[in-house]
Symmetry: C2
Subunit: 211 residues, 2 copies
C-alpha cells in the first residue's frame, strides 16, 4: 500500500492493490493474499467487498478501458481529415500509454487467453464497427481524391496502431535490438509522437520514388 493511499476507503485500497497485482502477475498469477497484503487489509475483507477473484478481475479489466474507449470514440466519430485523426489518435494513445505503460500487455494478454464471456460486456462498450467502418471509408475517399497515397486502408491503420502500441509491449526485446538501457529507452518513447507522425506523413504524403 503506497503512502498516498492511507486515507482511502478499504474498498478503494483493495481496488488499487488488485489493479497493481493483476497487471503485474496476470489473472492466473495473481494471488488474493498478495492483493490483501498490498492493500494492507485482511483477506476476508476482499470477499466482503467483492464476490470473488473473477469478479475483482473483471472490475480491474473493464476499468483498463475506461479512459481509452471514450477518447477513441471521440476521435473517430468527430470531424477532421484522415491525417488529422491519425495525429489525434497517436497523440492521445501515446499520452495514455506513457501514463500506464503496462496496460496494453495486460489487456491483450488476457484477451488472447480466453474470449471470455466477460469480454462480451466490455467489448460492446468498445466503439464497435460504426465509427471504425466510417473511418476506413474516409481513408478510401481521400485516397481516391488523391489527398493521400493509395494503399490498403486496413494496412495503413494497422501500421499506425502497431507503431504506437508495440514499443510498450515489446520493450524487453526492443531494448536489446536498439542497444539501449531502460532510461535511454524511456527517453526515446517521449519523443515517439513526432517520429511516428513523420514516418506516416512520409508514407502518405510524399512523392513516390519507387516502382
Amino acid at each position: 500500500m503506497s503512502n498516498k493511499e492511507l486515507d482511502l476507503s478499504s474498498k478503494e485500497k483493495i481496488l488499487n492493490a488488485a489493479r497493481r497485482v493483476f497487471i503485474r502477475n496476470g489473472s492466473s498469477g495473481a494471488r488474493m493474499q498478495e492483493i490483501a497484503d498490498e492493500a494492507g487489509i485482511n483477506k476476508a475483507l476482499l470477499h466482503y467487498y467483492f464476490k470473488n477473484k473473477e469478479g475483482l478481475f473483471e472490475l480491474v479489466f473493464n476499468d483498463a478501458f475506461s479512459e481509452f474507449i471514450p477518447k477513441i470514440h471521440n476521435i473517430f466519430s468527430g470531424d477532421g481529415s484522415v491525417m488529422e485523426k491519425i495525429e489525434r489518435y497517436v497523440e492521445t494513445h501515446l499520452e495514455l500509454l506513457i501514463k500506464k505503460p503496462d496496460l496494453p500487455m495486460f489487456v491483450l494478454n488476457e484477451m488472447q487467453r480466453e474470449p471470455r464471456t466477460i469480454f462480451s460486456g466490455i467489448l460492446n462498450k468498445m466503439p464497435g464497427a460504426p465509427p471504425f467502418e466510417f473511418f476506413l471509408k474516409q481513408i478510401e475517399e481521400e485516397m481516391k481524391d488523391g489527398k493521400i497515397r493509395t494503399m490498403n486502408p486496413r494496412d495503413l491503420w494497422m501500421n499506425v496502431m502497431s507503431m504506437t502500441v508495440f514499443p510498450f509491449i515489446g520493450e524487453p526485446m526492443l531494448k536489446k535490438f536498439l542497444v539501449l538501457n531502460s532510461e535511454e529507452y524511456r527517453t526515446l518513447l517521449t519523443k515517439r509522437k513526432e517520429s511516428i507522425l513523420l514516418f506516416i506523413q512520409l508514407a502518405l504524403l510524399s512523392k513516390s520514388n519507387t516502382p
Copy 2:
C-alpha cells in the same frame, strides 16, 4: 495429444504438450496435470524426465527463440544495404510468425513479468549488441550518404519491428478496429510483407512533400 504424436518418445510428447500448454496458459496458468493429460502420460513421468515445472518451462521458453535468433543474427551480420536487410528481416520474421502466431505474446509476456535469472542464459544467446550496433551505424551511414531519408535510426528500426510483430500480438484489438472476422484477418496477414515494405520504402526513399 494429437494423432501425429502417437509414436513419438514420451519425452518428446511431454515437451510438445508442455509447449502447447505453456503458450496457451502462460507460466503461472499452466498446470502440470494438464500437460500430462495432453501428452497422454502419467503426471509422475513429467518429473522423471524433467526436474520440475520451472525447468520444463525454461526448456519451452528457450526453444521459442531457437529458430529466431540464428536467422536474425545471420541477416544483420551479413552483407547488404539497409533496405535489403530490412526486407530480409521482415520476410524472415513474418514467415516464422505465421507458422507460430502466438509465440511473441508468450515470449514478451513472460519476459516482462520477471527479468528472471533464466533469461540471462537465453538472452545471451541473442545476437547481443555487436550486430545490432553495426546495423544502426550502417543506417546512419546511408542516411549521411543520402541513400535513405534521415531520421532517428532507432525510431526507424522500432517502426519496422512494430509493424511486423504487433499484428500477431494485438489481433483481438485490431480485429475490432479493422472490422474483420478471424478469417479475413488471417488473409490480411498473409499479404502483410508487401504492405510493410511498401510503407517503409515510401518513408525512406520517396521525395519529401512535407515541411
